[in-house]
């Protein structure tokens, strides 16, 4: 059988556009997901009922619903309630970010809880406020422990970017579909897309293994 990778190479422009789209949604969801996750994680850590319960509901709901369902909800259902349209990028970003926030919230909470109370004592005894203690003493130590898990989250977010193709957002898989339908070469097209993802992600995956090993050695 004839492998026709030539037509794929002719379409590098399309793939580059796709890659740009993938990186864009990855960056948006990484920043939104991980920062919202920190807020929710702090909420989960709090003992104040008014903060803890909504945070828990958020985490349980967005961890236990599939991301694709959320994306489609934001794309098809939400516009009914709002006076404006929601773009594919917005819908996909919302779905992926909220899901990532819910997962990373638990990573943050676990990391913060793992810092021994003596560190809080030391900080408070100097007269630090809660926010200062968190920012200067607790989080810097917790972050080092959370890095492997957060890196895994980032890898998951990168892979989830392909779900945006379900609402026709222009990213790598969507471009792959386009190339395959124009050139009747799904094998080459989808293999190329898979290879591109592998090349992007493999260094990141190896880096997360390295972080995990380093953490186990240091603890």
């Amino acid at each position: 059988m004839r492998w026709d990778f030539a037509s794929v190479f002719e379409n590098t422009d399309a793939l580059l556009v796709g890659a740009a789209g993938t990186l864009r949604i990855f960056a948006i969801c990484l920043v939104l997901g991980l920062s919202l996750g920190l807020l929710v994680g702090l909420g989960r850590y709090s003992r104040n009922r008014w903060v803890h319960i909504p945070a828990t509901v958020f985490v349980e709901f967005f961890r236990n619903t599939p991301v694709l369902v959320q994306i489609l909800w934001f794309y098809f259902a939400l516009p009914i309630l709002l006076p404006f349209q929601i773009s594919p990028l917005a819908a996909a970003s919302l779905g992926i970010s909220l899901n990532s926030a819910a997962f990373s919230a638990e990573i943050y909470r676990g990391g913060i809880q793992s810092i021994e109370t003596g560190q809080w004592d030391g900080a408070r005894a100097l007269g630090m406020r809660w926010g200062q203690a968190m920012r200067r003493i607790i989080l810097p130590q917790a972050l080092k422990r959370m890095l492997p898990a957060l890196t895994n989250r980032a890898i998951e977010i990168f892979k989830m970017s392909t779900l945006a193709s379900a609402v026709a957002y222009v990213e790598l898989l969507q471009q792959g579909k386009l190339i395959a339908s124009l050139n009747y070469n799904p094998i080459e097209a989808y293999t190329a897309v898979a290879v591109i993802f592998f090349v992007f992600l493999w260094p990141l995956v190896q880096f997360s293994y390295f972080l995990e090993r380093r953490l186990r050695r240091d603890e």
Partner: protein, 226 residues
């Protein structure tokens, strides 16, 4: 003017949704069973001292963990039939994709579990004359399996969420049914909300069952490993 919610058209299509849910459970169950079996095989191959066995296994595991499941699904549905010249249905494509994809993750759970059994157990088994596979089957695996259950259940719940991808290749699962019903009733808000809630309830219940099992294991003194 506030939006008037009306769930009745959605409820009228309950049979369609129910069928969708049934199909979701069907693909999830199939992928779960195949994934576990394949995952165990991959893990054992990966642990083999013979490189011609462990390297291909490692390759499969890395590829399927480092590429997005949706890309894998499209490849198996669109590309594989042409390559191998077989008939492909959405269900088969989904079953193959999710089986191998979950197997790659299960393999790592199995490997960690097996490696967590201390050397002494191997020594004890070999000292009474057991072969490698006998030791594995009678001594190591039974202990490893108990430790792996929490991570295993976590992966199974992930699988439940991943199988929604099959709606994109027009398999009539719950999400696909949601799309159909939403277009039929012109009520996307109610339809997708109901479907999201159904997914939430099913998966949440599964998580709770998993948590209960974990608690009972912890109480009976079994250690757990991730």
């Amino acid at each position: 003017m506030a939006y008037q919610w009306d769930f009745s058209p959605v409820l009228a299509n309950a049979p369609l949704l129910a069928q969708g849910l049934a199909n979701t459970l069907k693909i999830t169950g199939t992928a779960l069973v195949c994934g576990v079996v394949l995952g165990l095989a991959l893990a054992l191959l990966r642990l083999s001292p013979r490189r011609f066995l462990s390297w291909p296994a490692g390759f499969v595991i890395e590829v399927f963990r480092t590429t997005p499941p949706l890309v894998q699904l499209f490849w198996f549905f669109f590309a594989l039939p042409i390559l191998v010249g077989i008939e492909m249905t959405p269900f088969v494509a989904g079953a193959i994709t999710f089986s191998i994809q979950s197997a790659a993750f299960f393999a790592e759970v199995f490997r960690a579990g097996i490696q967590s059994i201390e050397r002494g157990q191997w020594d004890g088994a070999r000292a009474i004359g057991m072969r490698h596979d006998q030791a594995m089957r009678r001594i190591i695996l039974p202990q490893a399996v108990k430790r792996m259950i929490p991570a295993f259940m976590e992966r199974a719940i992930e699988l439940m969420k991943t199988t929604t991808l099959i709606a994109t290749i027009s398999y009539a699962d719950l999400l696909f049914a949601a799309n159909e019903v939403s277009q039929k009733t012109f009520r996307p808000l109610e339809t997708y909300t109901v479907v999201a809630l159904i997914y939430f309830v099913v998966i949440f219940l599964a998580s709770q069952v998993a948590r209960l099992v974990e608690l009972r294991l912890a109480r009976s003194g079994e250690s757990t490993v991730h």
